[in-house]
């Protein structure tokens, strides 16, 4: 059974358009002009139960808008949504009992009082029986090491601590579907990997379906078997992560710092037959993009090393935005 089904979903916003200058502002008072903006443009997809699906795209691609429609916050302009057998915006109060949501940029905990108070409220809100709640809370507290945080006011928690509490809050009622909107934003690597491990475990143990948006490709790599990619309100890719990387992660980017000044021209000449592109960052540092089909890393590095001493070398992972950009630029997506 599909946990989430979306068919030809569309969302338009009216955005107020301001005229220029004082005269314009005065005219705006009486005669407002609006622009129609299509945030989500006819998208369809289905996510089976128990899957972890990454939902990616550039800023303003329509990710958050989709999540908001899936969680019943926004009413779609047209199209159909079924989540867990419900139409989110129509049966809101019934529907939200079975989902958990974390917005990375917004707290859903009570800011000024101890975290445990928010958890206690959630127990009453979701009508979790006392015993089940305690078991669940203990498990989460132990797993996410929340021990001494529970009585602290939320405003005194660090971002990492807060995010762990947010996750706990979203999972206390054992939801069937978990929506995460940029859950790892602004976190350090340690907390990030801890949260990833945790999500994987929850997914395995309870079969929780997870839909997450992120800008961090490592989140996707660690968690998702499936990726839905959005650009300008349209789905431009929907499929496995491996295929995505095979098809689109066609090259590696290198950042090389030399012991002496190096001009990109010399390097270009050196690797002319390998179609490597070079770009100077400063006198000593250069950026190279190596298409893996035509060249391999060893070959390029071997040649470069004959030229000058290498002080530092870094392989830049392609990030989601780059891949999205690449897919978009080649215009491949439109007919997925």
């Amino acid at each position: 059974m599909d946990a989430i089904r979306v068919h030809r979903l569309r969302k338009e916003f009216q955005v107020q358009q301001n005229r220029e200058g004082l005269g314009g502002a005065l005219r705006d008072l009486f005669d407002r002009r609006y622009n129609q903006v299509v945030a989500v443009d006819d998208i369809s997809f289905a996510i089976p139960q128990g899957e972890i699906c990454g939902y990616i795209g550039e800023n303003g691609a329509g990710k958050s808008t989709t999540i908001k429609m899936l969680t019943g916050i926004l009413v779609p302009t047209s199209g159909e949504i079924t989540v867990n057998g419900h139409v989110p915006h129509k049966e809101r109060e019934q529907f939200v009992r079975e989902i958990g949501v974390v917005f990375g940029q917004r707290s859903q905990l009570w800011w000024d009082i101890g975290v445990i108070e928010s958890f206690r409220l959630l127990r009453k809100v979701y009508r979790v029986p006392e015993q089940a709640f305690n078991e669940r809370l203990n498990e989460l507290v132990e797993r996410l090491q929340l021990g001494d945080l529970l009585t602290r006011p939320v405003r005194k928690l660090s971002l990492g601590q807060r995010m762990r509490c947010e996750l706990t809050a979203a999972l206390l009622h054992n939801p069937k579907i978990l929506f995460l909107d940029e859950p790892t934003i602004g976190l350090d690597i340690l907390v990030k990997s801890e949260i990833r491990d945790f999500l994987l475990q929850i997914n395995k143990r309870y079969g929780t379906t997870i839909l997450l948006t992120t800008h961090d490709l490592q989140d996707i790599e660690a968690l998702c078997s499936r990726v839905v990619m959005l650009d300008d309100g349209r789905i431009i890719y929907d499929g496995g992560l491996d295929e995505l990387k095979r098809d689109w992660g066609k090259g590696k980017e290198l950042l090389i710092q030399f012991g002496q000044p190096c001009s990109p021209e010399r390097l270009r000449a050196l690797t002319a037959d390998l179609s490597v592109t070079w770009e100077a960052v400063n006198e000593f540092t250069l950026k190279a993009w190596i298409p893996l089909e035509q060249a391999n890393l060893t070959e390029v590095l071997g040649r470069v090393m004959t030229l000058a001493e290498i002080r530092d070398l870094r392989v830049l992972e392609p990030n989601t935005d780059d891949i999205v950009k690449e897919i978009y630029q080649t215009g491949a997506g439109k007919h997925v």
Binding site: I73, V75, W110, D112, K124
Partner: protein, 266 residues
Amino acid sequence: MFSLPAYLEMVRMKFLMMLAYRVNYYSGILVYAINIGAYYFLWQAIYGDNQTMQGFTVAQMTTYIAVGWMARAFYFNNLDREIANEIRDGSVAIQMIRPYSYLMSKMMQGFGEGLFRILLFSTPGMVLVSLLLPVDLPTDWRVWPVFLLMLAFSFLINSQINILVGLFAFFVENNAGMMSMKRILVDLCSGLIVPLTFFPTWASSVLEWLPFQAITYLPASVFVGRVTGSAVWEVLLLQFVWFVVLLIPIWLVWQRARRRLFVQGG
């Protein structure tokens, strides 16, 4: 969907939150003390040698001021600002993923705030004021429960107005002006600053058709003994009618807001 334990928990949490900010609480006491004192001396000066004005005796006036401000401590809340802020910064979205009614949860939080103030603020404050100023507390014990009931309606009606004004943030980008206007309007038209009978005839007859008098003027009039006997039930009924009537625009505005709820930065 009715979920009383959750709403009661919210009352408790707001109570806790008020406790967490005790300095606010102390400064609040000071502000109210100054207000009561200032209006007491002002009315003393206005009365001069007169024993009654517009049917109010000096003693009734003093009591009216004291109970009016103490009632305000209970019914006053910032629901309008809270709602408007949550709409503007988009955190209203977080509330929509909860299986409860947003407005009901706000109302309950306002109630928690009011409960805190009436227990730790109004009650001791009233005792203190009646020691310092010549305040006549009702001798008929039956006035007290009726007054408390009317106070509950004051809270409901004032909160309804606040919610209505706060919800306008859905339709205009910035309703700060509206909120401060409302604040002055409520203080003035509810009879907190000047009892309704002191207004010019045309003004007081207009105000009789507005919900504001149900917030301060009616309960305070019962408290000071200007309204007695069966008339008490009439003003109570009037409060109830306003409570019901105000549900209609709230429901309408909320329905429209739900339709066009768009979260900023989404």
